[in-house]
């Protein structure tokens, strides 16, 4: 009896792993394919320049002191400047903004070569670089679904075509 249980405990795992070996992998080929993020994803933070009233609440709320209020010549009040090297994307600044001037989108590809390039001046902050120009190889956006106990991937063409 114990021999049968032993053999079962050897052979069954082997069969399960073999089934996995011939099933479809879960890998997403990232620079070409990308997961579709849900609404309200907390990614890169951008600024609606005209809505900002320069109250500085975002700067005071930021837990990592990533937001600094800077003066801009020709403007009446100061604007937030975000250091994405410090930002932890908690988006408390977005929540706390009384005018809805700050908002976050689903871009997470922020890597740069120089550390100083991560400091986004209000102008840069209010002109967010579109995803298409960051990920030039991106062909598909993917959503993962479950059908009949298996994972399936719905491949969408580029996002805007689908929307």
């Amino acid at each position: 009896m114990s021999v049968i249980r032993f053999l079962r405990g050897i052979i069954k795992p082997y069969i399960i792993v073999f089934k996995h070996a011939i099933s479809k992998p879960h890998t997403i080929k990232y620079p070409y394919e990308r997961l579709m993020f849900s609404d309200g994803y907390r990614g890169r933070i951008s600024l609606r320049f005209e809505k900002c009233i320069g109250c500085g609440l975002c700067s005071r709320t930021c837990p990592n002191r990533a937001i600094e209020m800077v003066e801009i010549e020709g403007e009446k009040h100061s604007f937030p400047q975000i250091n994405f090297g410090r930002c932890s994307f908690c988006c408390l600044c977005v929540d706390v903004c009384p005018r809805g001037a700050l908002f976050s989108d689903e871009v997470v590809e922020l890597s740069v070569i120089k550390r100083d390039d991560l400091i986004y001046h209000p102008y840069k902050l209010s002109n967010p670089q579109p995803l298409e120009s960051i990920l030039k190889d991106l062909k598909k956006t993917i959503t993962v679904q479950i059908e009949d106990g298996r994972l399936s991937y719905t491949l969408l063409r580029r996002r805007e075509e689908n929307v």
Partner: protein, 359 residues
């Protein structure tokens, strides 16, 4: 022979064990922690109550929701705020998702520690993605949710959330059976883990083990049952414990806790009450103190907060479960025979997370 096992080692983590061995027998085992010490207790003294939610999550990136819950509840207790029931249920759901995330990772790590090299680990990580997707839908991010704030939660449940969660849970229950058949009932894994690193009940209690380590030795204690918080009082779930006290029992406790967590999420999402999801908490909380216990994936975390009426806490003391478990690990060779090959198995059956041991 004295071996420095870590921190540059395939499976040691940010952590070192100084092993004194005689051949393959381990004579003494000295954990050396502190590689990830960031002084979070000090950082929290310099953050307002709202800002504190970000650093406190860095205690354990695998189980952010539960650690944050301890902090948020301490603030609420001092400020004497009643959290609306809807927020309590949302918190419970996210905490259990966080617990499943952490336990899945732990199951993968014990598989990897036994040398069942990465297959189980990558399966669990792949399935974790689904729970991260669910959490992303709710909170807007995948790991560091920063979702609980004093007074409630930051967002209401989005539309379609319930269907998505139930779908993921259905799928996950099937996967749990796969794990059981391919790993927990794998005879070679049983031979590697059974009787290895036995922790007797009396030692587990007196040395201060926490969480699944304590329950794996047969001590029936779970903060969720002992001192129910949030919505756990209304929900029906079993307290999991095993008698054997070895590495297999500890792994099994985690596995069965995942099964219970699935039940909790199911029940919570069906019975979620209507109403507000957040109430206002003033910036300044009154002078006072609170000691809050929350059951994280690694055991009970105790957060002692002392306030002095300003916008920042005066002192936050975090009693982390991993530190307690690492002390038990350091005493392990005294009452249990260990070989060099058993060290990774025992270590990851304790599932310490060095980030919250170091704080």
């Amino acid at each position: 022979m004295i071996i420095s096992w870590g921190p540059q080692h395939p499976i040691s983590g940010q952590f070192r064990i100084i092993l004194e061995t005689d051949g393959e027998n381990v004579l003494k085992l000295t954990p050396d922690i502190g590689f990830t010490h960031r002084g979070i207790e000090k950082i929290l003294e310099n953050r307002t109550f709202l800002q504190g939610i970000v650093p406190v999550e860095r205690l354990s990136m695998l189980d952010t929701a539960n650690f944050l819950l301890a902090y948020v509840r301490a603030v609420e207790e001092i400020a004497e705020v009643d959290v609306p029931p809807r927020a309590k249920y949302i918190r419970t759901i996210l905490c259990e998702i966080s617990r499943i995330n952490s336990h899945l990772y732990a199951l993968g790590l014990i598989a990897e520690a036994c040398g069942g090299y990465p297959a189980i680990f990558l399966w669990t990580v792949a399935d974790r993605e689904l729970f991260l997707d669910v959490a992303e839908m709710l909170t807007g991010t995948r790991w560091s949710y920063s979702f609980f704030i004093p007074g409630g939660v930051r967002r209401d449940i989005p539309s379609g959330f319930k269907e998505k969660v139930l779908e993921v849970l259905d799928y996950f229950e099937g996967r749990l059976e796969t794990y059981r058949d391919s790993w927990l009932e794998n005879e070679l894994f049983k031979r590697r883990a059974r009787g290895v690193g036995e922790l007797p009940l009396d030692k587990a209690v007196t040395l201060g083990a926490a969480g699944p380590t304590l329950r794996g030795s047969g001590f029936r204690f779970d903060t969720r049952k002992d001192e129910p918080y949030e919505a756990y009082e209304d929900l029906d779930f079993k307290l999991v414990s095993m008698e054997e006290g070895d590495s297999y029992a500890r792994t099994m406790v985690r596995y069965l806790e995942m099964v219970e967590s699935v039940k909790i999420i199911r029940e919570a999402i069906e019975n979620i009450p209507e109403g507000r999801f957040r109430v206002r908490v003033p910036m300044r909380v009154p002078e006072g103190e609170a000691y809050v216990r929350v059951e994280t994936a690694r055991g009970e975390v105790g957060l002692h907060m002392i306030t002095d009426g300003s916008i920042k806490p005066y002192r936050v003391k975090i009693n982390s479960p991993s530190l307690r478990n690492l002390y038990v690990l350091s005493r392990m060779p005294e009452f249990s025979r260990l070989l060099v090959a058993d060290v990774p198995v025992v270590l990851w059956s304790f599932d310490p997370w060095f980030l919250d041991a170091d704080r």
